[in-house]
Symmetry: C2
Subunit: 118 residues, 2 copies
């Protein structure tokens, strides 16, 4: 099971005081459509200038942070990528198979934690 963290306070720069915030709408849409993923709300992924933001992770796998997500355009893209991440043993789906928005707006990735030394 991969975890999909979604920032619920995110609003794209310049969007003013939208209610509900775009991040909250993104979270609600993903929570409703992704019963097969662990969708978790977060208050800040520190990617504010490149929001809306989400991160995909799982134990022993790479973590990906994706930005510039529009709740009206990119729900399917982030869902597809999270399912590709879940299906790959290391959380490294083939680059060419990732949705275009994810290819162009991956903000950072972090390797799995090293095995604990004895």
């Amino acid at each position: 099971m991969s975890t999909l963290f979604v920032c619920i306070t995110c609003r794209p720069p310049g969007d003013g005081e939208l209610h509900p915030r775009p991040g909250a709408r993104l979270y609600a849409a993903l929570k409703e459509q992704a019963a097969d993923l662990d969708v978790v709300s977060v208050e800040c992924l520190s990617n504010c200038t490149r929001s809306c933001s989400a991160a995909v992770t799982a134990p022993g796998k790479w973590t990906y942070v994706v930005g510039h997500l529009d709740p009206d355009q990119h729900v399917d893209d982030i869902l597809q990528f999270a399912r590709q991440h879940r299906a790959h043993a290391d959380g490294l789906p083939a680059w060419r198979e990732r949705p275009a928005h994810v290819r162009k707006n991956t903000i950072a990735r972090v390797p799995p934690m090293p095995a604990i030394k004895e």
Copy 2:
């Protein structure tokens, strides 16, 4: 023990074909000075346009990605932040105590993995 991942292929945009790469120099300096941290080289943190890049993480703690690191200027800053991260139970050192470069160049953060549901 916190892990400090350092991208060794990083070079700031426009820096051309420097040898060794700035990321490799950053890694070498950190590896030498941080015997108290698990310094691990990585080939790409997908933060290329905001490089050089490093990430601090530990089991059960928040993960931070920091960018725009200059191996000639910011070794002490990233070391100080990694030690603050190690000292804090959740990996969330007080914002005002973080080095200025880290405050201004945190690219993203990701929460610890949720507890596994039984």
